[in-house]
Point group: C2
Chain length 346, copies 2
Amino acid sequence: MESQTEISKIGEFGLIDRITDGITHRNSSTVAGVGDDGAVLHYPDTEVLVSTDLLVEGVHFDLTYVPLKHLGYKAAVVNFSDIYAMNGTPRQITVALGISSRFTVEHIEELYAGIRLACEIYGVDLVGGDTTASRSGLVISVTCIGNAAKDKIVYRSGAKDTDLICVSGDLGSAYMGLQLLEREKVASGGDKDFIPKFDGKEYLIERQLKPEARRDIISELAQAGIVPTSMMDISDGLSSELLHICKASDVGCRIYEDRIPIDYQTAVMAEEINMNLVTAALNGGEDYELVFTVPLHCHEQIEKMNGVKVIGHITKPELGCALITRDGVELELRAQGFNHMPDKTE
Amino acid sequence: MESQTEISKIGEFGLIDRITDGITHRNSSTVAGVGDDGAVLHYPDTEVLVSTDLLVEGVHFDLTYVPLKHLGYKAAVVNFSDIYAMNGTPRQITVALGISSRFTVEHIEELYAGIRLACEIYGVDLVGGDTTASRSGLVISVTCIGNAAKDKIVYRSGAKDTDLICVSGDLGSAYMGLQLLEREKVASGGDKDFIPKFDGKEYLIERQLKPEARRDIISELAQAGIVPTSMMDISDGLSSELLHICKASDVGCRIYEDRIPIDYQTAVMAEEINMNLVTAALNGGEDYELVFTVPLHCHEQIEKMNGVKVIGHITKPELGCALITRDGVELELRAQGFNHMPDKTE
């Protein structure tokens, strides 16, 4: 193990110097970044998009199996995902950290290495933040700022009767990755030399620990000249997001079980833990795929796109929201959810 | 006590509905607020300013004596203060909350009542956020977005030799308010019927529990046609902020003990707890006053301004940063600080 430096040795300002060392800006919209009371941005020709997320240790992540660098990467990427879900481009992030005393300078550098790697890959500038103490574990709040032309912004509320419902990638794999990590954590019994069994399930682990935001889909849609009528990223599960879209758009929907994209490893894992596969795909969280709707006439173009699948269609509101099973049964869609809200176990 | 509703009863989305009910927008820069993956803002003619803060229970606030409504108000106002410190106007905030299970729906509504009151008074729109569970107490992350014309933005880095150093309001009172609240908390011994002794020290309590951001000073400066050469808000103590300005501007400074604005109640409290008054004024945190520098020729105008005092001047860098005491002794300025970073007491 490398030598570790207590944060109290270098203080808050010393820590900030370390984690912001060598930061450069990629976007012309970034006028001034870290080092003042606020960042200064410049968006004369487009709308500005803002999204924020809070990640709390013990609720959103377990550092027993989540490496800090991966955590930093994920914390940044899930915020980029929100901006893509508005059909925008993420440009800047601010990062506020609450740090408890068991974390060293090197730990925080690891976390920032992940944040900065995500910024590099997605072309985003780290422009500000806050670092403070926390009484209990790590708290990460990321705010992402992005932009889009006014007529290209996609809200939740624009879905229309007969629109096609499309989903990128596959669903349920991040959730199954979490189940796998939890299973091996239990199996390890806390033994640090324990070697977890991930053979043949690497994809699930990757989906949970190192999700990517679907910039490629946004770019494909733009190239095809398609502006979706509604869009969200799938963080709480497809059911929950679709219900949001239908509520905001005042429409109903039909999706088809046999159209839900599911990876082979997800299916294997579901069988191993004796879980209903479709439930996992509909309600497992943290996929960070996109669900969006397009007018019916886009059908041919959408069919040609890589990594996008049509899973159903929008209906009139009075028809409600339902899943059609393989044997033709209509089940009402419910957000069983992936709930990060307080239960009674503080 | 009013009846209390467990958050789990109404769920995350139910809670969001409650706390965002009836939200309206005051600023033309707000295109779309809560209810989508991100907020949509419009800033065609000015620069965009962004600032973020994280407040953690047990580190930044103690709910034994801080009412939730006051906490919400303060969490919002301290972020507005950062935008004013850039010579800008706050326009939008996002609020991310980590909530542990001991908080009820009514508690969170109280907190939001404070946030919304601050927004109303300062003309700011609440445009987004995140609510999630926390394993231990309340976590509040606020990001504030504001704007300013490019040539009006004030950085830390513009102070020049011979500039006057100015401070708004008075210093050390918020810190003394904290000492007073802590003293009475200890005296109460946890007895809920205990009546704390705040007589004659109401101002200190107000400064700690309900700070205001100095919008009035920003407005006075604008009316006088003065753009400060550098500015910060005083959150960590005057010494710390002045050292930041001097470092960023590559200059030194001299401030004069007998010019430091101190309220009578602050002086009384310092004597009661046997603390050096100037130390409290220089290093006590959370004043949320403004420290700024202006060219020497602004002297007369500044002298006429309400609530602003010239406390010293900027020097060449080789002279360092010093306080001149009443008896003419030069003491090096140090940031003893009001440190919210981890110590070894997790």
